[in-house]
């Protein structure tokens, strides 16, 4: 399942290590791409603002932010109307 282009833009903006020409794959480790705890908060807030959703407490755990695929799954579940 691919994702909304806005989603990828927000993720890229928050993983400084990923080069513009590098692809972002669902199973990539966001942690290895430079996402730290402060970056996680930024990413969370930007996704909530961009998609008008609120992440409930139970999904605020490391697994959610481990990969773009896992993160997109959560966003998509919060708003199934997204691509």
């Amino acid at each position: 399942m691919r994702w909304d282009a806005k989603f990828e833009a927000v993720v890229r903006a928050n993983v400084p290590v990923l080069g513009a020409a590098q692809p972002l794959e669902p199973e990539d480790s966001l942690y290895d791409l430079g996402l730290d705890s402060m970056g996680t908060i930024q990413l969370l807030l930007e996704l909530e603002d961009t998609f008008g959703v609120t992440f409930p407490d139970e999904v605020l755990k490391p697994e959610t932010f481990a990969t773009p695929g896992a993160l997109w799954q959560v966003v998509h579940e919060l708003d199934p109307s997204l691509a």
Binding site: V17, Y31, D32, L33, G34, D36, S37, M38, T40, I41, L44, L45, D57, L60, K61, P62
Partner: protein, 391 residues
Amino acid sequence: MPPLTQKVAALADELVPVLAGYAADVDREARFPVESMNAIRESDLMGLLVPERYGGLGGDLGALGDVAGRLAAGCLSTAMIWTMHCQQVDTIARYGTPGLRDALLPRIAGGEVYVASVTTEQGKGGHLLTASAPLVPRGDRLAFDRVAPVVTGGLHADGYLITMREHEEAQPQRVSLVYAERDQVSVTQLGGWHALGMRGTESVPLRIAGEVPATQLVGEPGGFRTAAVESFVPAGHIGWVACWLGAARGAFADLVAVLRSGNRPATVDPRSDLVAERLARARMSLELVSAYLGRVVEDVDRARADGTSLEPAATQIHLNLLKVIGAELTYDAIERLVTLVGMRLGYLTGAQVPLERHLRDLRSASLNYANDRLLVATGTLAWLDRAIDLA
């Protein structure tokens, strides 16, 4: 008190006079407390966190905290060295390969091996979860060559637990942890330890280079973060705070003994409200640290026994704040006692109670993994804990 904790408390209590006997010397000469550490090696306490099946005492972090606090009342530098050794042991016991555990843990339990921690590196200011110098694979071995600006007891270690970058192409946050025996490395001392306090920790800068079998990797390659969350950081924060609290509490006890004796300083008037208020506030600081330490230890030991992760934001917040609270309030307590007793008892060496040494030692607590870093991390995590789960 659980039976094991009672037993090791008795072992610790026997050692306290030995540690106290050398504490002034060790501090004055800024030397590693060889005699005190030898006494600890001869007790079973080097293996407190070694599981029983490897010949250790199988203690939990509650036992660690209790013993650390007792030893610290004798000599804070010695207690800190021992506590950090136990922190390394906990991580090896939980994340070492079966081969490493079988070969090393019984020797640790037998008092043969003091394991020093090597996590500091130039340019990263003590940040635990990044590394620069890489591990270089050579067949089934891993080679490394690294400089560490601060290594507690590094010249007297029998083994080292070292953070390294996973390999030459890895990102800085891909940190591996590797164990090296003293005879597997060359160790070069790059400077001295010229510090205000904790002088007996002899935390000198070292260059460590060598090659070890890949089976001496502790935890997954690049995966130190997991061991840090579940073992290294909780054991560290609990152990450190227990040490600081034990030293401050010991100082308070010694001071009250002096005030009750014929040697009470004339400047301390037993009928003075000011004196009473100062004693009360110093005591208050210790009570708060003790209460918070006890709560966090209970939660962490229960989680570890249940196999529950310490990863959740609330747990991380508690563990981070434990360190900040312990560092600030134990120093606060000593500060207040020095103000109370005045210069002669509070500021001169050779006083009946070594308050000036305690003041110097406890000033290190905020700097021992900077409180600033922990507060920023905690504030960040606070965004993720909407339930506001207090300890």
